[in-house]
């Protein structure tokens, strides 16, 4: 059974169709990269899967539970990092994570053990007693990740987990996601293509609410216009990886829909 599944998801806001018939599934051990330009419908799709938004039509499932009709059961299996990593600004990191742990049903002893582990792993020790509103963007993002991992969920949905992090932090975040991958089903949205190469076992490319491609990074590379021109991909230049070329190639055709 797929841990995450969407069936023909459609979401309209008035006349605007933000998500247009998106279906995919994610199994345990997979890291699926959700790729697309800004406004492509990535966040909206993730909000529907998490149960925050209701789809206009179609269904989303987490661990077999409909994320609307059976929302509470579905949410128990979900760790979710919303866009922008929101958290209570007036709480300290310690208060906030303890609150989330308690809301997730952990006992005080369980929460202490789990949070001690997460603090090590996500390196939150130095900001543990600081108020969240006083944190840098990088630390805020890490608090958001910690919050999503508190109950060791089967499913992780992370909306731009590396946004606002410096290169070192990005690297660490990717290492963390890779380390978590074998035991979970993970969906990550990004608009950074190198991230897909680094961590994803599959990439879904969306533009204007439609899913254009569901392929492995290697298959994506093979679609590169450069790969068509030459037998082997060219060396990467500083700003244009082969995937960038694929991405532009694919989304360009869909700009005038």
């Amino acid at each position: 059974m797929a841990l995450v599944e969407t069936r023909s998801l459609v979401k309209r806001f008035g006349d605007f169709t933000a998500v247009d018939n998106i279906s995919f599934s994610v199994n345990r051990g997979e890291v699926v990269g959700f790729l697309g330009p800004n406004g492509a419908g990535k966040s909206t799709t993730m909000k529907i899967i998490s149960g925050f938004l209701e789809p206009t039509s179609g269904q989303a499932f987490i661990a077999g539970h409909d994320s609307h009709k059976d929302a509470i059961a579905a949410r128990r299996h979900l760790g979710y990092l919303p866009e922008g990593a929101p958290a209570y600004p007036d709480m300290s990191v310690a208060q906030f994570l303890n609150f989330i742990a308690a809301m997730r049903g952990l006992t005080r002893a369980q929460a202490n053990d789990r949070l001690a582990e997460l603090v090590e792993r996500i390196e939150l020790k130095e900001v543990w007693d600081r108020r969240i509103e006083a944190l840098s963007k990088g630390f805020k993002r890490r608090v958001g990740i910690a919050q999503a991992l508190v109950h060791d969920p089967d499913v992780l949905i992370l909306d731009e987990p590396t946004d606002g992090l410096d290169p070192n932090q990005k690297y660490e975040m990717r290492e963390l996601i890779l380390a978590l991958a074998p035991s979970k089903a993970i969906v990550v949205s990004t608009h950074i293509l190198e991230e897909v190469e680094a961590i994803c076992s599959r990439a879904l490319i969306v533009a204007r609410g439609r899913m254009l491609i569901d392929a492995t990074p290697a298959e994506l590379m093979a679609m590169s216009p450069e790969a068509e021109a030459h037998s082997a991909p060219k060396h990467e230049t500083a700003h244009h990886s082969p995937l960038d070329a694929v991405f532009r190639h694919i989304t360009r055709d869909h700009r005038d829909h």
Partner: protein, 244 residues
């Protein structure tokens, strides 16, 4: 129940996260006692009771309750935390009730801090303490109704200022409903049923009956029903507006 008490505690703490709580309590104490002594002429009346204190509560609450409740939902919507809350395995109604309960408890604290007035009248004379207790409970109940309405308005917007203005406007309608000024304007064109319906929505009339020492079951039913309906509406509004 565990989740509800966690939400309550978190919101209760949030009340005191800024100096705003202290400022609020101070303003409430100054205004409520100031009105009692200067506007209601507490000493000149020569009666040992607190009616000159309670009579101002509908008007005080009209401004002060929206100030407590404006934060409840608007702030979570502005910071985006609402997306986190509503994807935790807790139904929406528990958030609505937990937040409202915390605000109501805070209003209760403000009322508790006025007990020196009650001590004073007992020192000056022999008031009917039963009436005073009933008045306190009635006042707290009315505060709860103001807060439930204000919480609804807070869920409608991301701006605390708009939430405050909206809540004051709605509260004003409920306060004014019992006045002849309003009723006579309606009476001239509407059937008696409508006029009666409007006057029966009046906060002041229901509250006054409680402070007169009549054990008023209809007044209690009125406030509890209004709180229940407002919180139910609050859940609907949250679900409808959360993503805007």
């Amino acid at each position: 129940m565990r989740m509800l008490s966690l939400i309550f505690r978190r919101e209760w703490m949030a009340c005191f996260a800024t100096p705003l709580a202290a400022v609020f309590l101070l303003v409430f104490l100054i205004l409520s006692s100031g009105m009692t002594f200067f506007l209601a002429n507490f000493f000149e009346r020569g009666q040992a009771d607190l009616s000159g204190f309670f009579i101002w509560h509908p008007w005080l609450f009209l401004i002060l309750m929206p100030a407590i409740a404006m934060r409840l939902w608007a702030e979570d919507r502005r910071t985006g935390v609402i997306e986190l809350l509503l994807t935790l395995p807790v139904p929406t109604w528990q958030w609505v009730v937990g937040k409202w309960l915390a605000a109501w408890a805070f209003a209760g604290l403000a009322l508790l801090l006025t007990t020196p007035l009650w001590v004073t009248v007992n020192w000056l004379g022999t008031p009917d303490n039963g009436v005073i207790l009933a008045s306190y409970l009635g006042s707290w109940l009315m505060a709860g109704a103001f807060l439930a309405l204000a919480s609804c308005m807070s869920a409608l917007t991301k701006s605390q200022v708009l939430a405050f203005i909206g809540a004051t406007a709605v509260g004003f309608i409920f306060v004014m409903a019992g006045f002849d000024l309003v009723l006579s304007a309606v009476r001239s064109w509407a059937p008696a049923v409508v006029t009666d319906a409007i006057s029966s929505m009046s906060f002041i009339q229901h509250f006054q009956r409680i402070t007169e020492g009549v054990f008023e079951v209809p007044a209690l039913i009125f406030f509890f029903t209004l709180i229940g309906l407002s919180l139910w509406l609050n859940v609907l509004i949250v679900d409808l507006k959360k993503a805007d």
